[in-house]
């Protein structure tokens, strides 16, 4: 009985956020703010979009092992950065988040991505970009988790495709959206200029994602599987 209640409450709050508050923010952004504060409006939207995920995570009361696996994966993404001074612009964050999502499920994937973004900014500086990063990485983990459930991520081709997609998604979420919303205007030229200037980074993201996913997916999956076998349930 109480379980049903919490699920319903969660559904209600999520629905309210998605169908009432978020459109309202957009509407107010267009009317009251005279369509100028894209940056501000997008931060609010992104923050709101994160709320249901956290709510669900809280309500579910995750077990210590799940909490630790998420923390371990996020910490590895951040700590791993120091290795990559020798291979500039390549970072394993996206791949590790996606693999966690595939192995532990969509929600854990979202939380891993969001944690990674938030925590790494404790070291590199918080800013208005934090919510964007939390949301983009969280979504990459989430989508990977959803796709992982169907089993299609076992195929290398699809895994690689996902890497490309994640690269584009991240690039759009961070560089392009960031550039447009800070410039405070939506014009075709601005859009093209932003995409063009972000293109080299987008390519690097996509390529490195593909490499990391292909190299890391199997070993990490096996490690998590081993723990499930050895110590009982992980999820």
């Amino acid at each position: 009985m109480p379980r049903n209640v919490t699920i319903n409450l969660r559904m209600i709050i999520s629905s309210i956020i998605f169908f009432i508050i978020m459109p309202l923010v957009i509407y107010l952004g267009v009317t009251v703010l005279e369509d100028r504060k894209y940056y501000f409006v997008s931060i609010v939207l992104v923050l709101l979009a994160c709320v249901p995920f956290f709510l669900r995570f809280e309500r579910r009361r995750p077990q210590p092992r799940e909490i630790l696996t998420i923390a371990v994966m996020a910490a590895i993404s951040v700590a791993g950065r120091c290795l990559f001074v020798v291979t500039p612009a390549i970072k394993p964050v996206t791949a590790i988040t996606a693999i966690t999502g595939i192995s532990l499920g969509a929600e854990a994937g979202f939380i891993t991505g969001a944690t990674t973004a938030l925590v790494s900014n404790f070291f590199f500086g918080q800013g208005p970009w934090t919510p964007f990063q939390m949301f983009t990485w969280g979504m990459i983990g989430f989508i990977a988790g959803l796709l992982g459930k169907t089993g299609i991520m076992q195929r290398k081709i699809l895994l690689a495709l996902f890497g490309v997609f994640a690269g584009l998604f991240f690039s759009f979420g961070m560089d392009i959206w960031g550039a447009i919303s800070t410039a405070g205007m939506f014009s075709k030229e601005a859009f093209i200029a932003a995409i063009a200037s972000a293109l080299p980074f987008t390519i690097i993201y996509a390529v490195s994602n593909v490499i990391f996913l292909l190299l890391l997916a199997k070993p990490i999956g096996e490690k998590l599987e081993r723990l499930k076998q050895k110590y009982g349930i992980l999820q």
Partner: protein, 293 residues
């Protein structure tokens, strides 16, 4: 010295949230000037000389945004000159200038935020909203330095068996890094089992957790919070009454200096100056205490 940061996290967080919010919102030259000056002086108080070093980063950003806008946007009435058949207008230049001021101010405020709101304060606030996620953050924060150290050890061990990730071809490096990461992940996950045991041994998951912290909400925190809130509301009212209204396109609006507007400008300035003011007053108090001792 640093007195401001000793206030309760909720006060600090509210302050920065309010300031950054208003900085992003009020695209009015007077408001922008106030917030920029305020952000710079708080940076100076908090970071001292390092602030001048960090200017190296802010100035190019400022110039870049200022230049880009008139190149993309050709609105405005005052055409200064033509570049490749595109109009370069005064309004667009000034809008770029305002945009740059706004963004750099936000960055400067964020830098103050980062030095005042340390991770434990943030975690404390977050634990009220989302205790489990906040615990995940706390564990992650604890693991990162540990992993960084372990990565170094693994790197050294691997070097002695021919897997040096700092030399060789790019492919060799990537292979070494993958191996090192893989070792770290195994090690970390196996150790995490013991950490999970340690959590269970201490009753994790038994019932709803309470949240303990060392932060105490004092009277002065309440007072400051009330002041911030009051000034924020007045500024909001001011904004509704048009004190922050300013149009760049198609032509610039004038800056009003009626008594009403001057009042709202000064309320905004008071809000901005709070932390620097607290630091200065406290500094004088100390000097006085020292001299009378």
């Amino acid at each position: 010295m640093r007195v401001f940061e000793k206030y309760h996290p909720i006060v600090l967080f509210s302050y920065f949230a309010v300031i950054i919010f208003m900085t992003m919102f009020f695209m009015h030259p007077v408001y922008l000037a106030i917030t920029l000056i305020g952000a710079m002086s708080l940076n100076l108080v908090l970071n001292g000389r390092d602030f001048f070093k960090s200017l190296k980063m802010y100035i190019p950003v400022f110039l870049l945004i200022m230049i880009i806008n008139p190149l993309i946007s050709h609105n405005g009435e005052m055409v200064l000159f033509y570049m490749n058949d595109n109009r370069i207008t005064l309004e667009a230049i000034l809008y770029g200038l305002a945009m740059a001021t706004m963004l750099v101010s936000v960055m400067l405020w964020c830098s103050c935020y980062n030095s005042v709101m340390t991770s434990d304060k943030f975690l404390y606030l977050f634990s009220r909203v989302s205790p489990v996620f906040s615990l995940v953050l706390s564990i992650t924060m604890r693991l990162i330095p540990r992993f960084t150290y372990q990565l170094k050890l693994i790197g050294q061990s691997q070097k002695t068996i021919g897997m040096d990730y700092t030399i060789g071809s790019l492919w060799h490096r990537i292979r070494c890094i993958m191996q090192i990461l893989s070792i770290l992940i195994t090690w970390a996950l196996e150790n995490a089992i013991e950490t999970a045991d340690s959590m269970k041994a201490r009753g994790y998951g038994l019932q709803k957790r309470t949240t303990f912290s060392l932060f105490v909400f004092e009277k002065r925190d309440g007072i400051l919070l009330a002041v911030i809130f009051l000034l924020f509301v007045i500024s909001g009212i001011g904004s509704l009454l048009g004190s922050t209204t300013f149009y760049f396109y198609p032509a610039l609006t004038g800056i009003s200096s009626t008594l009403k507007h001057l009042f709202f400008y000064s309320v905004y300035a008071m809000l901005i100056v709070i932390p620097v003011g607290i630091e200065l007053v406290e500094g004088l108090k100390w000097r006085y205490l020292k001299s009378t001792m």
